[in-house]
Amino acid sequence: MTQADITIVDYGVGNVLSVARAVTQAGGRPNLSSNPAEIAHAERLILPGVGAFGDCIQALRARPGLEMAIRDFAASGRPMLGICVGMQVLFDVGEEFGEHRGLGLIPGRVRAIPAKTTDGAPQKVPHIGWSPLSIPDHRSLGWTDTILAEIQPGGAFYSSIRSQLGQTIRHIASPIPSTVASASPLRSCAAISPAPSSIPKKAVRSG
C-alpha cells in the first residue's frame, strides 16, 4: 500500500500530536495544517478535537476561511474523519454548555448521555474507557465501506465522551482486539444492567 498523505486540521484544539503519531503508526504521512487552501485540496482529512463543542466550533470559525475549506473538502467526496469533538461538530447542533451550531455536514443533534440507562439503572457520565463496538442492525454490509472495515465486531475502542449520537472514536490507529467479557456480577454500587450498546453513527465519509 502506498503511503497516504493525511492532512490534520490544526485549529488550536486537541491532541494533534497524538493524532499525528497514530497516523504515522497506521502507515500514513501526517501533515498538520491550518491553511484553508491546503485543507480544501487535501487528499484525506482529519478534523481532531479535545474540547467542548462550543469552544471548538468557535475556534474553528475564528480562523478565516477554515470552515469554508472544510466544507469544500467534504463536498469533494474525499475521505474525511472527525475524531472526538472534531466528529461531533460535523453534526447540525451540539448541546454541550448551551446550544451551538455545528458544520451540519451530517444531520443530527449531539446530546448529553443521560445519567440513567434505558433500563433506569444509574450510569457514570462521561463514559470513559475501552468498550466493544457492535455492528448496528441496519448496516447489512457491516463496516465494509467504512474506516472500521478491518475491525472485528467486539474490538475495543477507547472513548471518553459525555455526548451521544455523534460517537467518539479515539485511538483508531491501533485498535486492540478484545472479546466481549461477560456482564459483571451484581455489586452493591454498580449499575445493575450493562449500558445498552451504542450504535456507531457514520462519522466517516468514504470517497
Binding site: Q123, G129, R170
Partner: protein, 255 residues
C-alpha cells in the same frame, strides 16, 4: 457500567521515574519512557504521568517525556502536576496528553475547573484529590503538594463541588495508603465514588491483584491506578488483568 480500567501511574521528577511512600521519600526508578512503553505493551488501559515537582516548562520537563511517549504508546495519557492555567493545559495537549489532572490550582481557584471543562471538555478535565484520613474524626481532608499542605476541605464535599464545576473524572489518591502496598482505602473510595456521578480512579496502596478486586467490588472504583507493584516487577499488567477478569470484573481483554 463501563469496563474497569487498569491505569499505570508514573510519578515523575524529570527526567526520572520515581516512587515514594505516602508521596514522600522519593526513589529514582528509571527512564519513564521505557516504563510507559513496557506498560503499554503489557496492556495498560491508560498511562498517568504525575509531575511531583511541577516543573512543567523546565528543560527536559514532563512535557518532553510526554512527547516522546506518544511515539510508541497508543493508549490515553493523562498529565498532572504543575498545571495552573488553561494555557498550561493546552501545552500538555499539544505535547500529546489526552487529559489533564489538576489539584493545587483548583484548590486555589475552583473556577479553573469550569474554564478547563469549557475549553477542553469535561472528559479531559480530571480533578486530582490527595486525601488524608482525619486523625481524630471521621472523614478525609484534601491536601496539596504531595500530601504536605492542608486545604481544610472535606474530600467528599470537594469532589462533589468539582463535579458541579465540570470535572469529568476524579483521581483519588490516598496519601495514607500510597506506597504502603497494604491495599486501598476502601471506605474513602466508596465514599467518593457513590457521591459523584463521574468515574473515580482509585490510587494509592495497591500491593496485589486482590487489592484491586477489593477496591472495585467494595469501593466501587471505576478505574484503578497502580505504580510500584509494576515498577518493581512484583506483578505485571497481564497477570493483574487476568486475575481481575477471573474474579468476574469486566475488563478489556487484551490478546
Amino acid at each position: 457500567m463501563s469496563r474497569i480500567r487498569l491505569i499505570a501511574r508514573l510519578d515523575v521528577k524529570a527526567p526520572n521515574l520515581i516512587k515514594g511512600i505516602h508521596l514522600e521519600g522519593l526513589r529514582k526508578i528509571g527512564d519513564p519512557n521505557e516504563f510507559a512503553r513496557r506498560y503499554y505493551e503489557q496492556g495498560a488501559d491508560e498511562i498517568l504521568y504525575m509531575d511531583i515537582v511541577a516543573s512543567l516548562y523546565q528543560r527536559n520537563s514532563l512535557l518532553d517525556i510526554v512527547e516522546r511517549t506518544t511515539r510508541d504508546v497508543f493508549v490515553p495519557i493523562t498529565v498532572g502536576g504543575g498545571i495552573r492555567s488553561t494555557e498550561d493545559a493546552r501545552a500538555a495537549f499539544r505535547a500529546g496528553a489526552d487529559k489533564v489532572a489538576i489539584n493545587t490550582a483548583a484548590i486555589h481557584r475552583p473556577e479553573l475547573v469550569s474554564e478547563m471543562a469549557r475549553s477542553f471538555g469535561s472528559q479531559a478535565m480530571v480533578l486530582s484529590i490527595e486525601a488524608k484520613r482525619h486523625a481524630h474524626a471521621a472523614g478525609w481532608e484534601a491536601f496539596t503538594d504531595n500530601g504536605r499542605e492542608h486545604t481544610g476541605r472535606d474530600v467528599v464535599e470537594w469532589a462533589k463541588r468539582g463535579v458541579e464545576l465540570g470535572c469529568g473524572e476524579i483521581l483519588l489518591t490516598s496519601v495514607d495508603q500510597e506506597g504502603t502496598r497494604a491495599g486501598f482505602d476502601i471506605d474513602l473510595v466508596k465514599a467518593v465514588s457513590t457521591a459523584v456521578p463521574v468515574p473515580v480512579i482509585a490510587s494509592g496502596g495497591m500491593g496485589s491483584a486482590e487489592h484491586l478486586i477489593d477496591v472495585v467490588n467494595n469501593g466501587c472504583a471505576d478505574a484503578v491506578a497502580m505504580a510500584d507493584i509494576l515498577h518493581y516487577g512484583r506483578s505485571d499488567l497481564a497477570s493483574i488483568r487476568k486475575a481481575t477478569a477471573n474474579a468476574g470484573i469486566d475488563v478489556r481483554i487484551v490478546e
